[in-house]
Symmetry: C2
DNA sequence: TCGGGCATGTAAATAGTTACATGATTCA
DNA sequence: TGAATCATGTAACTATTTACATGCCCGA
């Protein structure tokens, strides 16, 4: 289970509250590991009880108080242990592929809208990634020379960019296939 | 939840037993939706109780009897309903990306072996996909002209191929980055 | 005063993983 | 005889999702 570890990494990059983590899981780290705030609060509680993370109550002005979590020595050890363990081939969950194969038993043309929707979502995400890359890594405001952490974050982002480009190209292929199968043409 | 639907699609493509489904989920449909036999038997039982699928006891020679499942009208309806519903952006789970970002707080070079392992796994899977493509779709034994079902299965397979190629290229990028970060060099 | 953002949670249901269990047949 | 394949399951645990819940502050 890597939610624990994803949270530890995020807290090492920047300590923060459960709420802040939940927002990071909607962007940034959330692009390769999703989690809702309910899950995050539960895991934070457990990791705190296990001594993996420390809490600090932070009073804020004009906002509710928050609990700022940071990684303790035990948490660092747990992360390190996980990093040195091999991980098994990741399990994929690709609804759209199931739908495409299922379309053979329904109306393939009915999927066109759905595929177009996905294509737009991927195009948006790609644009977002590319903007982030310029902002954080390749633009004039980016730190030079980058440190190891930045290099590693950048290569993960490049993976996201490559993934979105691959998906857009494939969804084009899917659309062309669906159009070819339409009876009326 | 798409496991139900993945099973329905697989049974429409070819009726079969829980055991056979479990093996399909190790190949073919399993490349974009994973499930273990325990999950499959549970879902089959539920779908049978709901009248989505029919069972037929099949006696076999030299093997235990099996229950052959096939999709009933109610199951087809359920699948059709799902196909016409939009699906939400899929949630990603990418352990390796978490590990790479985590490596900033450990020894990045220690990840090299792990990344190489993943690269080999993706290369194997790509070779497997390409062999399947020739066998089922582009080779001389393939049916010509292909029907809609084959076209759709082929486009899903092309997606798998594109994914594996993208991953191999990205893992090269990751390795180059990790090597660049090694202190000794 | 109403909606949205900040902040934290509980409860219930569903899904997924891991471990255990059984029993037949075939092949080395 | 022992391992591998075929075949089906139960039980316990862990993870994830969805729904419900509270309360403060700020700006329109």
């Amino acid at each position: 289970m890597a939610l624990d570890h994803a949270i530890l990494v995020s807290l090492l990059e920047q300590p923060g509250s459960g709420y802040e983590l939940a927002r990071r899981f909607e962007r940034s780290i959330g692009y390769f590991w999703t989690a809702t705030h309910q899950q995050i609060y539960r895991v934070l509680k457990r990791m705190e009880a296990d001594g993996w993370i420390d809490v600090r109550e932070v009073a804020q002005q004009g906002r509710p108080d928050k609990k700022e979590y940071s990684v303790a020595a035990l948490g660092r050890d747990a992360l390190s242990r996980w990093l040195h363990e091999p991980i098994q081939p990741e399990s994929v969950r690709h609804d759209l592929a199931v739908k495409i194969r299922g379309a053979a038993f329904d109306d393939p043309a009915a999927l066109i809208r759905e595929v177009e929707r996905h294509q737009r979502a991927h195009a948006d995400r790609l644009a977002h990634y590319l903007a982030g890359e310029v902002r954080d890594f390749t633009g004039p405001g980016a730190p030079a020379p980058p440190d190891a952490g930045q290099e590693l974050q950048h290569v993960v982002l490049r993976g996201g960019i490559a993934y979105e480009r691959m998906m857009l190209a494939w969804l084009d292929d899917v659309l062309a296939t669906l159009h070819r199968l339409r009876p009326e043409r």
